[in-house]
Symmetry: C2
Subunit: 231 residues, 2 copies
DNA sequence: CTGTGTCAATACGGTTGCGTATTGTCATCC
DNA sequence: GGATGACAATACGCAACCGTATTGACACAG
């Protein structure tokens, strides 16, 4: 009967500061630890690897304690997806929305997206599990947010709706495909040693110089040669 | 959720067995029926859906008869992968190797690849299951074959090794990513009504006019607006 | 010291899918 | 018309997970 119902209900006038986590640095596990472990499992073996007992083994506990933090397995998956989605959103909002010039914004976004291999591989893993109806909504929201952002940026460049949509889809396909391949057959991708040249190629194909915006040639972002995926 | 039509309910209907005596048209199931069903299951729900009992239910039999055709579950998966790989190889060899001009060959290959949605989605499903070590070898072989073919074609265009590799990877990423997105979030891709314009975009980005080879402008393949994937 | 809240371990029952064993049903061959 | 070969059904045992129930360990508050 000891359900994890919030016992702070009645009248939280006083704030017993030390009735919770501060003194214990990392001794016990919390829901977020499970969610992060779930994300790691997804990146490694796909959504189906989000299983309670194996994860418990990884975390060094038994599943008995899992059901203290979550009601059921799907709640863990939902928490992991929420965590991922939020980090993605934070990312895109805080880092790129501020850049006024759409041309610069797109270029920087492209480089940043390909630079972050960790996140790219996680995206590939989640997109690879799209047959799972539990990930689909989150995946769709994230995809649509990014696509909308890309479409808007391309439209700000002076392109028509059709063309903006086409280029946004093109960009996103190249992104998703690159990391899908990197995840599936890293050997075939590893040979491309100069990833920045690869992305520059993508940017130049989609952002021709004759459109508008500044003419920053190449050495623009603080991004160097980002390549290798040595493990 | 179309339930398998099992006519052996309350009605004492005798099994409508084909009374065809001589050539045994299609009354009974063979290994290839199972392999094709497995491929269909992969395309729908990923490699993990290649499970004996569910497939038996779909095929209208019980797993008892499965083990007549295959020694174990993995043998079925192997057969399905072999079938896929062979069809892929046949495809690429018979259809494109004959085209002498690399420029034309690449262009036609691009259009053909994007035109064949069925195969593209199947490829996406298999690439999405790359965490499964049983599909990895097949997937790697197919990928490397295609990549090699692409690299060679680009090199024939007069490009250096690095550049050829880069463009081949670019092309293949765009292909894989497009179908990954189409599989994962068809709504976001469906809006691009003019797929041929999309592919033409890809081709023009990677096959600039000023290189070499013939100058066949545009009205090449009989590919029009191929988009939506209504199921 | 005792109570309570928080996390963890153990044990149990249920479901799904694998693989095996055994038996059944035809169609065909002799 | 029996034997055989090709397929199919049923029934088991086994393992992986899910979810529940119960109890244990331990920190801190009163």
């Amino acid at each position: 009967m000891s359900k994890p119902s919030k016992p702070k209900g009645a009248a939280p006038i006083i704030k017993p500061k030390k009735s919770k986590p501060a003194p214990t640095p990392k001794a016990q596990l919390g829901p977020e630890d499970w969610a992060r472990a779930a994300l790691a499992a997804i990146q490694r073996d796909g959504v189906q690897a989000v299983a309670v007992e194996p994860l418990a083994k990884i975390l060094g506990v038994t599943k008995g304690s899992f059901y203290w933090h979550f009601t059921h397995r799907d709640a863990l998956l939902a928490a992991a997806l929420r965590l991922w989605e939020q980090e993605q959103s934070d990312d895109i909002v805080t880092r790129f929305q501020a850049i006024a010039d759409p041309r610069r914004r797109l270029r920087i976004m492209m480089f940043a997206a390909f630079e972050d291999q960790e996140n790219g591989l996680l995206h590939a893993a989640l997109a690879s599990s799209s047959e799972d109806e539990r990930v689909q909504p989150t995946l769709r929201r994230v995809t649509e947010t990014r696509m909308r952002f890309g479409i808007e940026s391309f439209r700000s460049l002076g392109l028509g709706d059709e063309e903006a949509l086409r280029r946004a889809l093109f960009t996103y396909s190249a992104y998703a495909g690159y990391f899908l391949l990197l995840r599936a057959i890293p050997e075939s991708v590893r040979d491309v040693s100069d990833l920045s040249a690869y992305v520059r190629y993508l940017a130049n194909a989609l952002l021709p110089e004759d459109l508008k915006g500044d003419h920053s040639p190449k050495s623009k972002p603080g991004l160097k040669s980002v390549a290798q995926s040595r493990k």
